[in-house]
């Protein structure tokens, strides 16, 4: 694991999406809203960038997409975590923990 990975942001977004989907399948719009809500509007991502992340994770087999009916009775695409995705989440979460701990330690000690 390399903390200086330039793809860190992608990775972070993926981690958040995985975490949110762990609870229940959601559509893309709902995922975006939840991230905003839960971060108290502090993580202001460009909403469009969410979709490539979802597609990419689907391609990798972490997510499974299905068309379903949304809460307001509209057809929408729902993403569900797969077993591979669940494992990935565990690993990413652990990595993230290590990463923040390490960064935190350095910030405190210097």
């Amino acid at each position: 694991m390399t903390p200086t990975n330039p793809e860190r942001l992608h990775g972070t977004l993926e981690l958040l999406v995985l975490k949110l989907l762990e609870a229940e399948p959601m559509n893309g719009y709902a995922v975006g809203r939840r991230i905003q809500e839960l971060s108290d509007d502090r993580l202001c991502i460009e909403e469009g960038s969410l979709y490539p992340a979802l597609y990419r994770m689907e391609r990798r087999g972490w997510l499974k997409a299905e068309w379903g009916i949304s809460e307001n009775n509209r057809r929408a695409k729902f993403y569900r975590l797969t077993r591979v995705g669940r494992k990935r989440l565990e690993q990413e979460a652990a990595d993230w923990g290590h990463f923040t701990t390490a960064v935190g330690k350095i910030l405190e000690s210097v």
Binding site: P6, E7, H10, N27, G28, Y29, G32, E46, E47, G48, S49, Y51, P52, Y55, R56, R59, R60, S70, R74, R75, A76, K77
Partner: protein, 895 residues
């Protein structure tokens, strides 16, 4: 055929349709999902109190670049993801899979590239196999780099490469301080007879007993010659070739000690050489010891070939100094014979292949140019493909794929193309080597070494890798630095090339045209040379003439030098066979001679009476050609002045000579040769006629001076018959053979051929060079045409809009057509100009292969310009016509 074609078209159509439907479905899905997002967001803002239009705008703003997101999602669906893998192997496998898949998606592109490379690499491999087998492979002897040929030259007559005389050989053997060992030999055709077999002509070498030790090759069975066997009066022994052992003795293990009869004399077999051994030539089947001493032959007869092994540490330059000093000493000691004679050495390899090196290297260079053209063409195709794929690249870069990663992927694709091309090339080479061996001149030395082997395949691999890097790197580098902005901006309508890239593609086409010009010029010059060669008047009419040779063994047909020319048995046989063949049905005429009109024969000394005597060493030599009186009529050689021979020029009649035109020009420049007296071998006779020059040294050489005299005044045990027939000359062969058999059942015919065939064979090398060069030029031209077509047609498709505007402003279709063709011509013109410059360089290497045409032959260069212009017009006409039919309305609406 048509059925298959339509069904494959249908299949392709179905595939395309499926892919199209798939894309549409994906697009709808993505659009649906994004639309949902935007709609929900807009509602949210409306619910928060915004006006609908403002809410919509806010939603769009928060979303970011909608178009780009759509594209990225779409590509993620359609294109394999290119994320960083965990290991190089996985990357490689992934890249390979990716490359193969993307090539399969573009089958016609892949096919054209693989075919182009296959042709280029295959042709190179084939020519390399010849160069390798003939020029590069070490000779199959022990320490072959220490083997040298020793030659004499003659300053007075301006000859460069002559054999040694036997006394000279023995002197060098005794005096030199540079050779570990020396050997000498001459070749002879012998007749093999036996109780169970037809008489058979066999090629033999008579060599001093040191031959095998010098070469460093020992017999596979039995032993080599002993020193005693190499002395005058030694035992009659023979060493046979592996091939002879198999064909004559059926591979008998007990062959050593058996006897064979050669020219009516029994020889004991003492050894069998290993398979593949053939010195001095692959066709030698027998080796007999040379049982001669220093005084066995005169110093003036230069017919002994000499090979030596350098002592260790001695260079060729050092050996040259040594033999030069010896020759200088001999010049003083034997001024009568050796005045003006020098000696020199060259490596055996050089002596063997020296005269084919230039043509082979020229061909290798030419075929290398073909490969370059192929590379340029493939690079061009890759460029075209790259610009189509620019969007894909931009998207993947946007997704975070590192440029290096992309570069590697494109290189992988190039490598897959190159290796597939290399495999195709190996196939092409396999077949073209067979073709080369069929078409190739049979007298090419060491041709038996040519074939596909690991070395040659290694070359194929190397060419594949080299070409892959060459054509793959440039476009890959271009592609790995895509301009994201433009790519996305123009993403909707298919992208266009930047100015720089267009220029690069034009440069590539110019290079291609230039290289083709070099090749076409080379082919043109060789073609013209060959045509000139075919125009050469051989000096006789070869049609319907069969020629055969016979050797009368001196055991039964005594040929003692002391009795010459009084050899009744020989003369009787020649008279009898002459008479018998003449009376055969279908035979119109027959004549005997020492040589046929296509044999160079050999030279001997002569003196012209009434001229001041010259020093012995400075005597002139010319070709000696004893013939029967009907030789001129049979072979169709015109007598241009005086008379030819008649049946009366024999017996006690005064002896006469007929000289050829070259002789008259050279030795009687200012006087009438007719009536002059000349002396050869003690015979003085009058010159009564001048015969037209016969190109007996080859069509490409001027006829050497020579003279004819009646055969019965200068008989030879070995002679040829020329038989003019009414029909196919070969059909007369069995009857001729039968007549020889009736006279002597132990004689074999050899050198059996028709004179047209002999002439055809005599130009085999120039024909071969021309043919290959023409093929190379044809391939290069085709590739160049494809290149021009590609660039022009791409330009037209890019400028459809502009053309539409011009036509709506009143430009006629014809004007547009002319303009586009003019562009193609301009591109070609630059290439031609550069190519002509290059061909001047290339032709310099070619000049030794040319005949009757200079390397800067203007008509040929003119023809090349016309051909290239024609190709350019043809290649740009199709796109030009398309341009001229652009409908302004449609073109403008497409904007």
């Amino acid at each position: 055929m048509r059925l298959v074609l339509t069904s494959s078209w249908r299949a392709r159509l179905r595939l395309r349709l499926r892919a199209f439907l798939m894309r549409e479905r994906v697009r709808r899905e993505i659009d649906g999902e994004l639309a949902y997002h935007l709609e929900m967001r807009t509602r949210e803002f409306v619910a928060g109190g915004m006006a609908p239009r403002a809410a919509r705008n806010e939603a769009l703003k928060r979303f970011g670049n909608l178009e780009r997101t759509r594209l990225v999602c779409h590509e993620l669906y359609m294109v394999e993801s290119a994320e960083k893998g965990d290991g190089i192997m996985r990357d490689l496998l992934h890249d390979l899979r990716f490359a193969v898949r993307s090539l399969i998606r573009a089958p016609s592109f892949a096919l054209v590239v693989v075919l182009t490379l296959g042709l280029g690499i295959g042709a190179n491999t084939a020519i390399f196999s010849v160069v390798d087998g003939v020029l590069l492979r070490p000779l199959p002897y022990g320490n072959p780099d220490r083997l040298v040929r020793v030659w004499e030259n003659d300053r007075l007559r301006g000859t460069r490469q002559e054999w040694l005389s036997l006394p000279d050989y023995f002197d060098v053997l005794e005096r030199n301080r540079v050779f570990q060992e020396m050997t000498t030999w001459f070749r002879a055709q012998v007749t093999l007879t036996g109780p169970d077999n037809e008489p058979q002509r066999v090629t033999s070498a008579t060599a001093s007993h040191t031959l095998f030790p010098v070469l460093g090759v020992a017999p596979a069975m039995g032993r080599a010659f002993s020193e005693e066997e190499g002395r005058p009066g030694g035992e009659r022994v023979v060493v046979v070739s592996h091939r002879f052992w198999v064909s004559r003795f059926g591979g008998d293990e007990q062959v050593v000690g058996k006897t064979i009869v050669l020219d009516d004399v029994a020889f004991q077999v003492i050894g069998v050489m290993p398979a593949g051994f053939g010195f001095p030539a692959p066709d030698i089947d027998l080796w007999r010891p040379l049982q001669l001493g220093p005084t066995s032959a005169p110093r003036g007869n230069h017919n002994f070939r000499v090979l030596a092994r350098l002592a260790s540490g001695v260079t060729i330059a050092r050996a040259n100094e040594d033999v030069t000093a010896i020759a200088a000493a001999l010049e003083e000691e034997y001024a009568d014979d050796n005045l003006g004679r020098g000696m020199w050495v060259e490596s055996l390899l050089e002596a063997t292949v020296g005269d084919v090196r230039t043509p082979l290297l020229v061909l290798l260079g030419a075929v290398g140019l073909v490969l370059l053209v192929a590379c340029v063409n493939v690079a061009n195709l890759l460029f075209a493909r790259a610009s189509v794929r620019e969007r894909e690249v931009a998207i993947r870069t946007a997704l975070g794929a590192a440029p290096g990663r992309l570069l590697r992927q494109f290189l992988t694709e190039s490598a897959v193309l190159a290796f597939t091309g290399g495999a195709a090339g190996a196939l092409v080479a396999f077949w073209s080597i067979r073709l080369l061996l069929i078409l190739g001149p049979e007298d090419l030395p060491r041709l038996e070494n040519v074939g596909i082997d690991p070395r040659v395949l290694g070359f194929t691999l190397l060419s594949a890798v080299g070409t892959g890097l060459l054509f793959g790197l440039v476009p890959a580098l271009q592609v790995s630095k895509p301009d994201l902005q433009t790519a996305f901006k123009e993403g909707g309508r298919g992208s266009s090339e930047g100015l720089g890239k267009r220029r690069l593609r034009r440069l590539l086409v110019i290079a291609e045209v230039g290289l083709s010009v070099v090749l076409v010029t080379g082919a043109g010059l060789l073609l013209k040379s060959f045509w000139r060669l075919q125009q050469v008047d051989p000096g006789f009419s070869p049609n319907n003439i069969l020629s055969v040779s016979v050797q009368l063994p001196s055991a039964r047909y005594p040929q003692r030098f002391g009795d010459f020319p009084n050899w009744p048995e020989v003369l009787r046989f020649q008279e009898d066979i002459h008479e018998r063949v003449r009376s055969l049905p279908g035979v119109e005429a027959v004549a005997l001679g020492l040589n046929t009109p296509v044999d160079a024969g050999w030279t001997t000394r002569f003196t012209i009476e009434g001229r001041p005597p010259v020093a012995a060493g400075e005597q002139e030599e010319a070709r000696i050609r004893p013939v029967t009186h009907d030789y001129f009529r049979t072979a169709g050689i015109p007598v241009v002045r005086g008379r030819g021979f008649t049946a009366q020029d024999r017996g006690d009649a005064p002896p006469v000579f007929v000289i050829n035109e070259a002789f008259a020009r050279r030795y009687f420049p200012n006087e009438d040769p007719l009536g002059q007296q000349m002396t050869v071998w003690g015979n003085t006779a009058e010159i009564v006629g001048i015969a037209k020059d016969v190109k007996f040294s080859g069509l490409h050489r001027p006829a050497p001076p020579g003279w004819y005299m009646p055969l019965d005044r200068m008989p030879f045990g070995g002679f040829s018959m020329v038989v003019r027939t009414a029909g196919d000359p070969i059909a007369a062969l069995p009857a001729v053979r039968e007549q020889v058999r009736v006279l002597d059942r132990d004689l074999a015919l050899y050198n059996v051929r028709t004179l047209p065939d002999a002439l055809w064979d005599s130009v085999a090398r120039p024909r071969f060079n021309m043919l290959l060069m023409a093929i190379f030029a044809g391939v290069a031209l085709t590739l160049a045409a494809v290149g021009i077509y590609g660039v022009i047609s791409y330009g037209v498709s890019q400028r459809t809009h502009e053309i539409g505007v011009r036509m709506s402003l009143g430009a006629s279709g014809g004007a547009v057509l002319k303009q586009v063709v003019r562009q193609g011509l301009a591109l070609t013109g630059v290439g031609v100009a550069i190519g002509l410059g290059g061909s001047l360089l290339f032709s310099r290497g070619l000049s030794s292969l040319l005949f009757g045409v200079s390397a800067t032959d203007l008509p040929t260069l003119g023809a090349v310009v016309v051909v290239l212009g024609g190709v350019a017009i043809a290649a740009s006409y199709l796109p030009a016509r398309r341009a001229s039919r652009v409908d302004p309305v449609v073109a403008l609406r497409s904007e």
